[in-house]
């Protein structure tokens, strides 16, 4: 509740300080996942800014950035989407499936580069990966195959697991295909699975507690924005129940999560600068194909594993790109 107030206040401030911009300056509206000040969120945006600079854009002179942090909450994202579109930007950079959902609802005509958005075709954001067709293109995140991979990881590190819950945000449709893949693949690993929908911290506290209360239960943390925002809460509940959990981004494991399997979000942000730059230079998003991640990472936090009493098999350690001691 406090954070909501802070946000409203921040919005009020940002409305006040909006400067009158020179005609020649291009305007890029950025809708970032995470809460403002989040370490990972800041690092990702920094990678984007650095690449923009290398491409010859100078902040404050040739380009101006308006940034909002939607914290993975659809209501806030909607509000910010309206706000940002009202600023009449030249290009928008949208992070997170929630953010893209909010933008899509307003169907603006401004060119949009999205980054870390799951299943953009399935969510109806674009026509096809090779030829997006509309005014939207960007960098997609997860592919459905990864769901079963997560199941495999849980089973490998905690073989006694019988049941798995997939924590996801019901307000977006982008994760449906991964969830379906998980449900379908679970029996192969001798598991039952269930969806754990939660859009707020409250819901999370409630539903995760209930899920992990059952014995031999593991958790798959889906790459929903709210899951990244509330990661500390999730880790706390997971630690309380000493449950095996797999996370979608390396930073989860680096901050104390058990195991993370996914791709390099910072790399995607860096690459997204190329598309923003090309759109600022007038290229039509319709002709820019959607790019999938190429760098995958597996990070294991052995310290957490030891604390929770899990033994990490050597084969799994061999596959890890990074091991946190």
């Amino acid at each position: 509740m406090i954070s909501r107030r802070a946000l409203v206040q921040a919005a009020a401030w940002s409305a006040l300080v909006r400067p009158a911009l020179a005609q020649a300056t291009k305007r890029v509206a950025i809708m970032a996942a995470f809460g403002e000040g989040d370490r990972e969120g800041t690092a990702r945006l920094a990678a984007f800014h650095r690449q923009m600079q290398e491409l010859g854009w100078q902040e404050g002179r040739t380009v101006h950035f308006d940034t909002r942090w939607h914290s993975g909450t659809l209501a806030i994202a909607r509000e910010q989407a309206r706000e940002l579109i009202a600023l009449r930007p030249d290009v928008m950079l949208v992070n997170g499936t929630i953010g893209m959902t909010a933008i899509r609802e307003l169907s603006p005509t401004v060119p949009v580069t999205f980054v870390v958005v799951a299943d953009p075709v399935g969510s109806g954001f674009i026509d096809s990966l090779a030829r997006p067709g509309g005014n939207i293109s960007g960098f997609s995140s997860f592919e459905p195959e990864l769901g079963p991979k997560w199941l495999e990881l849980i089973k490998t590190i905690a073989p006694s697991t019988r049941h798995v819950g997939a924590l996801s945000d019901p307000s977006v449709t982008g994760f449906a295909r991964i969830q379906r893949a998980i449900t379908e693949a679970a029996p192969r690993f001798g598991l039952t699975s269930e969806d754990v929908p939660a859009s707020t911290a409250e819901e999370m506290r409630d539903r995760l507690g209930r899920l992990l209360g059952k014995p031999n239960t593991g958790l798959i943390v889906m790459p929903a924005s709210i899951n990244s925002v509330e990661r500390a809460l999730i880790r706390r509940i997971v630690a309380e129940h000493r449950a095996p959990a797999v996370y979608p981004f390396a930073f989860h494991a680096r901050e104390g999560g058990l195991i993370a399997s996914g791709f390099d979000g910072i790399d995607l942000f860096r690459r997204s600068a190329h598309y923003v730059s090309r759109m600022l230079n007038g290229e039509a998003p319709a002709n820019l194909p959607v790019q999938a991640p190429t760098k995958f990472e597996l990070v294991i936090n052995v310290k957490t594993a030891r604390e929770m009493g899990f033994e990490v098999p050597l084969l799994l350690l061999a596959q890890a790109d990074e091991v946190i001691e």
């Binding site: 509740m1 406090i2 096809s128 990966l129 090779a130 030829r131 592919e143 195959e145 990864l146 079963p148 991979k149 199941l151 495999e152 693949a185 192969r188 690993f189 002709n287 820019l288 194909p289 959607v290 790019q291 999938a292 190429t294 760098k295 995958f296 084969l315 061999a318 596959q319």
Partner: protein, 1039 residues
Amino acid sequence: MSVVGAEAPVEPAAAVAVEPPARRGLPLATRFALAFLGLVSAVLTINGAIDMWLSWREATNTAFRVQQEKAEAAASRVAQFVSEIEGQMGWTTRAEWARLPVDQRRYDFIRLLRQAPAITELIQVDGQGREQLKLSRLEPDAVGSNLDLSGDPRVAGALRDRIWYGPVTFRRGSEPYMAIGIGHVGRNAGATIAEVNLKLVWDVVTGIRVGETGYAFVTDLRGRLIAHPDMSLVLRDTDLSRLPQVAAAIASPGQAAGGGRVIEGTGPDGRAELSAFTAVPKVGWLVFVELPRQEAFAAVWKALYQTLALLALGIGLAAVAGTLLARRLSAPIRELRAGAEQLGRGDLTSRIPVARGDEIGALATSFNVMAERIQEAQATLERRVEERTADLNEALEQQTATADVLKVISRSIFDLQPVLRTLIDTAVRLCRGSRGTIYLRDGDVLRVAAFHTNVPPALRAHLEATLLRLDDDRAISRAVRNGEVVHVEDFMNDPSTRGSTAPQYAPFGSMLYVPLLRDGEPIGCFSMPREEVRPFNSREIELVKTFADQAVIAIENARLFEEVQARTKELQESLEYQTATSEVLGVISRSAADAQPVFEAIVRSAANLFAPWSANIAIVQNDMLHFMASASASEADSQIIKTLVDGIYPLPLDPEKVPSARAIRDRAIVELTDTAQPDTPEASRKVQVATGFRSMTFVPLLREDEGIGTIILTNRESGHRLTEKQRALVQTFADQAVIAIDNANLFEQVQARTQELEQSLDDLRAAQDRLVQSEKLASLGQLTAGIAHEIKNPLNFVNNFADLSRELVGELEEIVAKTADDSLKAEAGEIAALLRSNLEKVVTHGKRADSIVRNMLAHSRKGGDERRAVDLNATVEEALNLAYHGARAERPGFNVTLARDFDPAAGQVELYPQEFTRVLLNLIGNGFHAVDQKRRDGAVPGFEPTLTVRTRAIGNRIEVQVRDNGTGMPDSVKARIFEPFFTTKPTGEGTGLGLSLSHDIVVKQHGGQIAVETAPGEFTAFTVTLPRGAAAPTGGAAP
């Protein structure tokens, strides 16, 4: 006139020759140069064109060759990418590998995924095509699934061909993938299949550099793009078979395999490009290397421009050479023309040089012959002209002679002899006389003034020795006496000349005497004898008379000249005197403060003007005569005077012994013409003995009829006196010396007075500054106190209500705790906590404001403190202890060395003890702060914080000094420290009122002074000075 006439006929001929003939068409030289230039440039242009064509072909070939090599290199790098993956997979294809334990194989696959980032999936199948092991980056691993994959083209291909490359597929229509299958070694062996993400070929393709803007791309055999520096083109699944170079490559795959060729293609953006391609046969890909045409042919264009520049240079050189050759041909013709023109102008002696035997040479010879003829004709004419000229010359001679004489007269007016000699010589020559003599009258006798050159020496001596008296009857006497010409036709037989002894020395025939008359007055005589008897005719007599008149003019001129000379000399002298006087005046005006330069200037001028006199000056000071300056034109005299004066001067003012004293007493000049005389006064005698000065003159310096010194002039010779003019000048000098002395006296007085005035002005200013400062501080203090009164009440409200609200929050929390709604409870709890913390801040800062206000109010305190006598040292000691323990309590780590330097004589002082202690606490507290600050800022090692307190009794005042070796203050801070609210401490630590209050207490209440000395980074010392009691004003001075 005849000379001019002789030249006249030539003139018209010259005019005709000079007129240039009208030119038709181009000059010969230009025509020749143009032909030469045309020929050379034609040759150069043809050569340049061939050269350009050849270099164009060569450059094109080179560009093509380079492009081809690039293409081959690119293809080999792409092939290497595939080969590397193949190589990495290699060790999983050994015969025994399939028999290894499954974990070992998994390790190997994991390692393979590690080493080859492009591989996303690995599958091992057995000989029957059943899946044994599968590892994927995205999907779950599969171990021993035994899935039958024998129908899978990848497996079938690998088992059949041993190495099999799948076609490029596009996953979800976007990402390019390719499968590689490798069959295992051995009988009935299995295979390893790898799925390769071809996006990673991008790294290879972008790494290929072609020129500046060139690039490479890869397609499959159908022209579908596999790799391109712009990844989005690949992901968009682009078909490039329309591009001409791709179409050509697809049409002739054989040629591509053989190393490719270079064709002119277009880029995906329609740009003209030079394209080369090579196939990678292993996987059936085509690698294209593209270079924009513009860049490829940049070198060719450069060569083209170079050739053009060389061509231009060649034509330029040809133009220069052609011009030079044409010049050489036309030069002799022009020479010929110049020669003819010279002849035409009348220069008949000139000949045209004939250096060549050709037609031009012959023409030149003809010209020369013609010139010779004309020259001969002219010579005849000239001879006739010469004869007539001789006649005229004679007539001219007489005129010229007369004129010459006049010229001589006018030239040498100051030397009579040569003039007279010239007159005699000329007259004798023109009148055909034999000799001549000029006599000048000197009273009643005639003296010889000048002789003719021919007068023999014997006659000359005789005439000079003989005085001719005018009172006898001889012809010459008559001529002079009567002022008339006397003509003696036969000297030897005429009665008036008979008896003359002159004929003993030279022959005499006819004789002419012509008197020299000035204004009718005879002043001499011109005599001219002829050796034979031949009387002078009237023209000759007239001529001699003319010369006689001219002699008179010359004599008169010489006399006037001498007079002018004498007058000029006189004027010059008085000018010198005036200059000397004004020089001395100049020195006077320059050195108003000091008379000595004036004395020196006076003696220098006098010595220069009166040489060989030496000049000296002596002045009366304290009834004695002191020597001041001396000068002499002779170096020896100067030396003598210098060594002498020290022994003699100063002299007593005794008129009997000292002539200067007499001159001063009598106010008159005293002159001694011979100091060797026995009556010479003693002082002068001494001088005479030592120096040999014989004549001395003493001129008194008089101020309002009082003698104050003398100018003494000395001369080596006896019997000399100053001339009247010199005396007058010395008087002037004496007056000037008096003025200089007066000036110097006045100057000293003025200076002393000015200094006094300046001193009192400085005192006045200092007093004014002190007054202004204390007024300023007083009014600030009043203002502060006024503000404090006004703030006090509202501040009380704030503090009280903040306290109250804090309690109310407690109550609120209790009420909320009773509610059942958990979320409401939590939220209300959070807000209550926030409120509580806010209120605590309000209370804390309210207290701080309160303390500031209390301090401010102290400015307006009514003096509750009693004024009484206390022991100063005891009071200071007490304050020091108090402050030290206070500081220790406040800052636990604080430490400082205290040094006491108490004056036992300080004793009892009447003051307000509480207020004074307050001042001391403040100053000591500031000192502690400063040393502590320095320590925390990281002072130099070995820094020892020290605070020194010193008391001193100074007359009826006492002094207390608090000195620390802390941070010190810059001047900007020092200037403001006594102002209220000025503080350098961080916000919250100081009120900025301490020193302002201290100033108030010391200055207003105790009538004392407070001063500060400081150096940044070194020390600060506050010094309080108080009167011991009696002078202090009554208490409560502050309002």
